[in-house]
Symmetry: C2
Subunit: 123 residues, 2 copies
DNA sequence: AAAATAAATAGTAATCATTACTGTTTAGTT
DNA sequence: AACTAAACAGTAATGATTACTATTTATTTT
């Protein structure tokens, strides 16, 4: 993977966002630095960064968000402010449930919890 | 919601499938009975059936699947045969974890477990 | 039973996110 | 400095879904 300024900025944009930005958002962000950058470049680099394990994707209502946190974790989506929060689980009890009750072999999972976040919840 | 043969068949197609078909698959299925049916009709009726709670949707890799089972349950996707299985959980431990550790209010969740299903797992 | 009304339809055009293509530029190598 | 392949900008194409429109049809009203 040869160096390119555009990939560096795409990556930096995701890492600094803490949010879980879409390709669209990343494009706008990087465009400030490189006004001539094109969508194709953003998508190509996002694909490569995912492929090399620098970032990961999460799907939300059919659109793709990018996540700079590649450690295993889950997401909470506030349906008031639409922010996406990370959270971790102590024990993934449901994995063993699926394995013993359904006799499937589990290799991964994706959990998406929705509700009202603590910031929106001050009442 | 006025009766229509096309909606009846769209609904019947989902209910009889046990699989979790896409709009595309439902279209092909209903087309056998009503060759002149259009995609617009399929999508419009799917939307209405969801709206009225007769079916629900699940997103998988950005494409929408339809589910005739509206009781709360989760999904296991086999990455060998690509079948989508239903399963239920005994206690949703992670809900309380999110509520007490992150102080969010949980209203729902979506869990997607991946791996190798019991049928593909006979080795 | 005929007329009226509004919902649903078929067919097609438009949208939106994403991917593919193409000729040009550029990072890294010889 | 010359070379080469990767990456680029720009643009066209794709695929799933939604929107539009003139026509048909289920249901209500006369
Ligand atoms: Mn995350
Ligand atoms: Mn299901
Ligand atoms: Zn919130
Ligand atoms: Zn399988």
């Amino acid at each position: 993977m040869r160096y390119s300024k555009q990939r560096e900025l795409v990556h930096a944009s995701i890492m600094s966002s803490k949010d879980h930005p879409t390709a669209d958002r990343i494009f706008s962000e990087v465009k400030k630095e490189i006004p001539k950058i094109s969508f194709g470049t953003v998508y190509r680099n996002l694909g490569q960064l995912v492929e090399h394990g620098f970032i990961r994707i999460i799907q939300l209502d059919g659109i793709t968000h990018y996540d700079g946190n590649v450690d295993p974790h889950n997401h909470f989506i506030c349906n008031e402010c639409n922010r996406i929060y990370d959270f971790e689980l102590d024990n993934e009890d449901f994995i063993s449930q699926v394995e013993v009750k359904n006799h499937h072999h589990v290799s991964g999972y994706q959990l998406m919890v929705t509700g009202t976040c603590n910031k929106c919840n001050i009442n």
